[in-house]
Structures are given as C-alpha cells and as structure tokens.
Symmetry: C2
Subunit: 362 residues, 2 copies
Amino acid sequence: MQTVHIDLGSRSYPILIGSGLLDQPSVLAQAIPARDVLVVTNGTVAPLYLAAVLRGLAGKRVASIALPDGERYKTLETVGRVFDVMVEQRLNRDACVVALGGGVVGDMAGFAAACYQRGVDYVQVPTTLLAQVDSSVGGKTGVNHPGGKNLIGAFHQPRAVISDTATLATLPMRELRAGLAEVIKYGLIDDLEFLGWIERNAQPLLALDPEALAHAVRRSCEIKARIVAADEREHGQRALLNLGHTFGHAIETATGYGQWLHGEAVAVGMVLATDLSRRLGWLAEGDVARVQALLERVGLPSRAPTIGADRALELMGMDKKVLAGRIRLVLLRKLGQGKVSGDYPAEALEATLRAHFEARAA
Amino acid sequence: MQTVHIDLGSRSYPILIGSGLLDQPSVLAQAIPARDVLVVTNGTVAPLYLAAVLRGLAGKRVASIALPDGERYKTLETVGRVFDVMVEQRLNRDACVVALGGGVVGDMAGFAAACYQRGVDYVQVPTTLLAQVDSSVGGKTGVNHPGGKNLIGAFHQPRAVISDTATLATLPMRELRAGLAEVIKYGLIDDLEFLGWIERNAQPLLALDPEALAHAVRRSCEIKARIVAADEREHGQRALLNLGHTFGHAIETATGYGQWLHGEAVAVGMVLATDLSRRLGWLAEGDVARVQALLERVGLPSRAPTIGADRALELMGMDKKVLAGRIRLVLLRKLGQGKVSGDYPAEALEATLRAHFEARAA
C-alpha cells in the first residue's frame, strides 16, 4: 500500500493506494472510526464491491443506498434520497458517509455529507480510474443543474480516500481509457518525466498491470495534492487541473451528455489546448503530434466532432463580440508546464476552433 | 448607524444597525460591490421593502425572487427554485445574493449562496427582530427535512448584515415579542446587566423606540459575535446560544409547527432550563420567578403546553433508559452565565419535565 498525503491543515487526509485494499478489513476500519455509517453506491457497483465494504465495516451500524447509475441522475433530487435515508437512520453529526463508486457517486455522497447537519465526515472509495486519479481527491462535491454541470455543490474534503486498483478489473475498457486522459493531463500540466513514463507504460496500464496502475494513480494524486493544497478553493492555480476541460465541456454539451465520456472530451480538449499553445509559439508542431500520438496509443479520441466553431465558442461561455480574454483557459507554456491564461489573441483561439470543430476538406 | 464586527479571520464581516438604513442607498451599495445581484425575499416582505432595496442597488444587474412565506416552505424544493433563477440569470461566482426578510428567507438564501457554484457571497438584510438579533448572524444556513428542522445546510458566513430597525414597524406584535425571547436569552447566558436593561426597557422596546431597539440589537449581536468568533462551527461553546431550544423544540414538534412561534417555544424552554438549573442548586427560587416575570412582561408565554413528560423526553431525542447525560443542555450556572452540560441527574430533568409538561391539579 502506498500513501499520498493531502496537506490542508486541519482538513488534511491520506489517499491509500493499492491492489486488494477492500479485502483488507483493517484498511476500512482504520479510516472510519465512526460507529454509524452510510454507504452510498450505485446499482452497478453494489453487486461487485458492497459486500467487501460491509465486511470491512463489521461491528458498526451500517446502512447503504444504491443510486441509479449515470451522470443524468447526478441531481438535487437524487441527493434528496440520500438525505431521506440519513434521516431515517437517525444519523447524527458523528456519522460517516462512504462513497463507493465512480465520480458521480463520489460527488453526490460528498455533497450529502457536506450538507447533512451542516457537515459530517465522508470517505471516498473510488472504483473507476477517473475517480481514483481525479474526482475523489480535492473536496469538490456537487450535482448538476439542467442549466449546467456541477452548478450546485460544496467544497468538503473527505476524511480519507481508499483507492483499490483491483476494482479497475471490472471497469469497462472505454472507461479505463477515459481515466487515462486525466492521468495524461497531469503529465502535461506538471511533469514531463511522468508524461514519458505514461508513453512507455501505455500497454501495461491498459493491461491493468498492478504496479503500473499504482504508480499512475499515486503520481496523479501527488500532483493533484500539491495543487489543491496550494489553492483549495480554486482562486487561482487549481484551475490548471482543468486542462482541456473548457473545450471538452463544449463537446460534451453539443453532443448531448452521455455520447462522449468526460475523459474522452477532455482528451480532445487537451489537443485543442495544445494546438492553441502552439499558435502562441509556446509549443512546437512535434509537441502537438506527440500528445495526439499518446492519446491514440491509449485508445482515446484525438479529433473533435464537427460541432462548428461558433457553436463551440458559445458553449464555452463566450460572447463573440468580446471574445478575447473573457474566459481563462489552461494552456501549455511547454510540455509539463501548464499556464492559466485569459490573455491570448482572439484570432489564435478562433483559428484553433476552426481547425478542429469545422468539417475539413478531404 | 452602529457597527458590530464579527471576527472570523478572512470570513469577518460587519453588522450595520440603525433606523432607516434601507433608505440610505449608499449603505447597500457599499456592502455589495458585486455587479450581479439576486434579491431573495418573500411575498409578505417584497411589497414593503423590495423597492427600497432595488433603489439601493441601482446601476447593478439585479433580479429578485419572492418565495412563499412560512417555515413550512423552508425546503430543498424551495431552494431549488432559487437555483433555477440563479442559473437563468447566468450568475457567476462573482455574484451576490441578498436575503431580504426573516429567518426563513435568510436561511434559504444563505444556503443557496453556499451551494451555487460551490459558494458565492451573500448579504443579510433581516426584517424581523428574531433575524436581526439571531438568525442573520453567524453563518448557519439551511432548510428543514420532513424528519427535522435545519437538518440540511451549510456554514456560510455572510459578507455583511444590514439591520434596519425601522423595518420592525411592520412586524406583527406577536413576532416582535418572539424576537425579544432571543434578546432575553443573551442576557441570561452572558450578561446580567443587559438582562436588567431589558427589564427596565420592556415598554420602550414593545413601543418600537428606535434607540431601545438599536441597543437591544447591538448588544445581542455583540454577544453572539463573541461566541461565534470563538466557536464558528459549534464544536463547543456556541451551543450556549441554544438556551431553551431543546425544550422549545419538543414544544414546537408536539404542537405542530406553526402553532407556537419559535421564540415563544424558546421562551418556555428558557423557563424549563431555569427550573432545572434551580434543581441543581445553581439558581434560587427568586431567579426563576424573575425570568418568568420578564417573559410575561413582554407578553411571552411562560407556561408549557401539557404534552406529557414522556413525550417531551422522546421529542428531545432521549431514550428513557439511558436518560442522563445523553443530551447536552444549556443550563444557567447563575443568571448571566450559561453552561453547556450533559452531566445532570436524570431525576432532576424528569422532575422539571413533570412539573411543566404534565397537567397540574388546580
């Protein structure tokens, strides 16, 4: 087992990473001193891992709720069902919520924990690669609103994160690849050496090699931990973690949620951020090709859907008349060094959008 | 205008107190630098004070929403309507919410501000005495759940509180009296001299004398400010502010919400807390009579409804078998000095409940 610490003063917590952690009851028992526990999971994950988690919580008063699986259920109404169970179980402020599942479960369980009696503890037990390297760490919780993703939520740090990489064996390959997009993101914004490591280890990662997975999760969490510790509430540098996300958001919205996985849209978004950085003279042609090649090597899309440059701009929240500088984007000063910037020429952004979102002549 | 500061580091804020503050546009303008503002109010308060607030926000992009008036609408569903308007108005993280109304409006507007985009600013403009002396100060926000009051919420400090005591002129007398219960509470837990001042100024307060009101609001806020600054998230001494509330909660629930105003139930709850403190030898008979006399002088109830001692105990969240020490109560070490204690004999509590909640022989 490896441990990464998130240093946030009184809100600090460990991320425990290893293969088979859920089969070691002492891991859960030590992370959760509470006597009353509510496990929040979903209908897909419950049959796979709920029994192991319940064994790990033996001796406590434990209830569980399985939410419907999928981003479209990440709503205030679904969190309301979690509150209902918490009240039914008469949980008090000393209770602990366990989020067992992917990012959707973690976001909702964390939000429920943030709001129940104005805040109770929760522990993340992420079972997807995306959640293990990104969403379970850093305390962002919340739900979607019909008007936009994650518009309602809270910053509420977990008490611990338990990432059992063995759970990735049951993850559909497409979701594994989507998680790798976020792993690649960490290399791009912060660590060129890690980027090289991912390039050399794409095959072991896709083959679920335990050591490779543990390294990818650990290194991703280390980078995220440092960035979050420096800017917990995203007033500045934490935005680096959004590389590719603004472009990706336009893709997700234009194609309808569910068509593209979040990680897939982020992958293409990173290509666009890379392309824009090249237009600013920060990257070379070869850098862009290198990023595309890596995405393709792990089976991620690297080409955008033809949603149109104007539509993309609108979905990125920009008004064409006041285009430049309106939205801060994460760009790359060089490979391995992200930069949050609102200071780019409108023409460069437009050229990037045209090149990628418009239909190309054959 | 008088100002009380709440000292919470980066979350510090001023409470501005005075008669006619809403008619001075500079007061609102200075407290709210944001360009985008959402005023949350209710159908009773809007016709009275919304126009003045809108004048004070002239030059900004302002929207408003009037929620239905009443504690029974303090739900997650109602807050959902506030979120809808925030999204419709495309408010971003720099927006500011203004809570114009009593405690229910303040709790919901504050909770909406806490959760929208994981937290935007809000300013409290309380228009009831209860809200001016208590609920608008200290950052407790939230909604009720069918299973209990304030079960869902967040700690989210306002950016400022603007208490215009002239708004109390339109408050029903019964609600003014209910607000005075909380004012008396501050004297009982923290300031014997203030208690004496209230006794001497009961008539000016009920007659809405501006100086008397301003002093009562200011002194109440000063006491609350000190207690909240020392224990923002109620891990300890902040519980002092709940004098009479556990007993009062039993009354509110047993009689159905709406029968007794919160302040009325708290008034009787304070009599019970006083009676229990006397049984512990901390107060004299005369102290109990003094508290009852003051409550009666301002027109508050001082006698409990006959809901039965067993039912009261159950509603206080206690199991009879493990009665003593299960629930911490706020008691009075002497008049003007509250004490949070879970260490009282079961028999003393039972005697208090019997004496007050059982039908008495004539």
